[in-house]
């Protein structure tokens, strides 16, 4: 086994779901899960089932909405789409993540020179 897969930090899955829906439009749970797996290049440790806890959470907050519909191969499935408020929230969270990862990057980068001082 090579490098182990990334554990998802609290809240990151929610953001991934929002981002996926923002980019792809209306999708069902399986589609969202597959999409995240594909985009992350299978680096994320994701039990597909866990996505449903995230979906219900986002729905209850009013950030995504859901509707029953029919999939491309004629199966009844629940389709999710991001709401206006969801987009706003996503923008905020994405900015937060960008800043955080930038800061983390800087902090970790200074480690090499630490010994000289």
């Amino acid at each position: 086994m090579g490098e182990s897969k990334l554990d998802l930090l609290q809240g990151t899955l929610d953001l991934m779901v929002l981002q996926t829906l923002a980019a792809m439009g209306e999708m069902h749970g399986y589609g969202i899960a597959r999409r995240i797996e594909q985009v992350s290049g299978d680096e994320v440790l994701l039990n597909q089932g866990t996505i449903y806890a995230s979906l219900v959470r986002l729905q209850q907050r009013g950030w995504i909405s859901a509707e029953w519909g029919t999939s491309e191969n004629n199966r009844k499935a629940k389709f999710y789409s991001i709401t206006k408020r969801g987009r706003k929230q996503m923008a905020e969270d994405a900015a937060y993540w960008a800043r955080l990862s930038e800061v983390m990057g800087r902090v970790l980068a200074m480690g090499d020179k630490g010994g000289d001082r």
């Binding site: 749970g29 899960a33 039990n47 449903y52 806890a53 629940k78 969270d93 937060y96």
Partner: protein
Amino acid sequence: MKHSMMDSLRRAVQRAGSFFRKQPLDRELEAEMAAHLEMAVDENVKRGLSQKEARRQALIRFGGVVQAKERQREERGVPWLDVLLQDVRYTVRTLRRDRVFTVVAVLILALGIGANIAVFSVVNTILLRPLPFYDPQQLVWIARPDAHGLSDMTYSADAYDDLLAQNRSYVDVTAYYAFSTSDNLKLTGNGDPTPVTGMGVVGNFFHVLGVEPELGRSFTADESRKGGRAVVLLSHPFWQRQFGGDRAIVGKVINLSGTPTTVIGVLPETFDFGAAFSPGTKVDVYVPTLLDDIRDEGNTLALIGRLKPGVSVAQAQTEAKSLFPKFYWSKKYPDSIGNYRARPVVLKDYVSGKLRRSLIMLWGAVGLILLIVCVNLSNLLLARAAARSKEFALRSALGAGRWRLIRQLLTESLVLSLTGAALGLGLAYALTSYLAHQGSLALPLLSSVRVDGTALAWTLLITIGAAVLFGLLPGLRMSGTDLQETLKDGGQGMSDGRKHEGMRNVLVISEVALACVLLIGAGLLLRSFMRVLDVDLGFQPATAAAIKVDYDDGRKTEKRNAIFEEVIRRVSAIPGVEAAGISDNLPLERNRGWGGPSLKGKKYRDGEVPDAFVYVVSPGYVKAMGMRLRGRDFTWQDDMKGESTVILNERAANFVASGGDALGKMVMIGKSEARVIGVVADVHETNVEGAAGEQMYLPTMRDEWGPEGSELVVRTKLPPAQLAGSVLRTLRELNPNQPAVEFRPIQGIVDRAVSPRRFFVLMVGTFAALGLILASLGIYGVISYSVTRRTQEIGIRMALGATPGRVQMGVISKTLVLAAIGISVGAIVSMVMANLIASMLFGTTPTDPITFFAMTCLLGGVALLAGYIPARRASRINPMVALRNN
């Protein structure tokens, strides 16, 4: 993830909502996940996997289906509520299965909790809740600290005026006319005259108390002055009863005792004068007391002040100390200065302070009941625990944690105690509304007793408290039992049972001890009450009754004599009447005091002659009241033509004669002299339990002593109620204006005076009886259980030759040991507790041996009975059957 308050709130609402739509939501999730898997399988098949392998892969990628569902459920709903609901559902199922246990437990709890709510409501109303006036903690009662009788606690109009003018402590001071009596007015103009109870109050009375009329207005300054228009305020109940709640009554003129009087308002329902100032009486209307009218009447006003903000009661007391000695009894007599003292106290303390100890004792007694109930329930639950130990061992083997089991057991206790509390609340509602309508019970504020919000909060507190108390011990016991042991244990759980039994014995012993404390306390109070009933009142209350006579003498003594003589002659002629006579006041009711009698010609120091209670009476009164007389009664000839005469009580006679015999001596009463023609035994005039004061009985036939009212007392051979009609008819024949006032049994007056004590005895007695029953139930339960558990052992012993008698003795002696330990502990605790209620006892010492002996015997006897039933069963065990079982 950060998010706004609104989002969190929205989510909370949604979560709570989804709690109630569990099944549709579950179905939807199921369908969604199924679709997910199908799509995954489809894709895998498309990639060339076999159907079986495709499904396997799909499931792997999905993770655990059950866990995913569980996580989604937790996310969308309220997980702890789900668990609680599960526990409750399980509890209801188990309790249903065990119906007898459930019914017994709920009933016991209902009694215990119900009694506690009821008593708390009484305590809350009388002791804790503020008086129903505006800013009541600023109100003070201004009276002598050691007042004995009405005249002693009241002040003259001149003193009141001076207090108003000179004080610096009060925003305002008001007063009521303390000598108003029941049925002192009559309402005419609509058929037969109706008796009405009017209370005289100084004009600012309602303003000072902060009571706003519900309709109309209060008295104006003009109406409180001499010559003002005659006006009246109606009490709410009287308005409802007499005028059918007619809102147009304000402004109308009614005829009150011959005076056209304008109704200016109706007081709110919440205002009950009697409840606060004169427990056990009711007031129909309020009339302004005109100070100039009562200036010559001496002490008549009971004072109530409203303290200025920032002035403490202590400051008011200091001021009163220097201020009151400067007041005049009457400014007409300059030497009447210096007779007053006063010590203001918070009004609430005056109203309910005397009852504080009794109420706290009652509260304690009912708390003991709840404790006994809890112990009893603990015991029942332990018995059940023994039977259920397998069930719990099994659950724990299946993975239930210890806390989960304890929580399950506590849920059971809580369900039981909440059900009991619901029933108990009903009980308490019934009890409090019954108490609130006991008009003759002389407890202050009782009419407003109800189960209010505070009482409901208290209910919740004790309900949960009780559940934890009686549920925790069995809970810890059960969840702590050794899993292996229990599951292995073959028979009836021998080892486990024995452990439980030790605990249950301790519980039963404490139950017996608690019941013993209650019983001895109740016994002491009961004995005191019997002593109170045995008090020699100085008159015979049985088979006598009084009725207020209406008459118009035009303020002429001779005319009054003629009326009284005729009334007494006619009433005495009614068959069944033994004696009849008139007095202006009756013992244990209104009383008044004057400067007492002194021996004529003897010099006394200032203040040496004590005040005496005054009764202006007709011939025949002494006999009608059943008083014991030495010498002779008054005759109609003791009028202005003859010598002035007086009858003294023993105490006054002793003072006058300084140890000799007062009969025949001349005494001075104020400036008048009178010959002592009779001496009567001391009559309890103010209360039953205290000592009697000096009393003098003066004839109605003399000009010097004006009677203040006229109570006709009739002594009968028949029950007084049977004569009520004929007496009233006779009075009506003589005077058509005679209102239909009550024919009151004298016994009723005595009953009212002892009613607070009767109330407390009845309550504590009931609790003690309840405690006794519960304790015997506890003993029965434990002994019965131990017999059942030892059936086999007993069977073996009997097979080996033990006689039924021996077996029975064995069980009984076990009972007796438990009872004896409990009783000993209880008796010792009682010795300590009894000292706490010593001040509530009358003629009984806190360690009264008879009470201790009787109550411990009673408890022992009942315990014996409770043990005898299972003992009998034990002795009838058939060894063969017992050995074959198991």
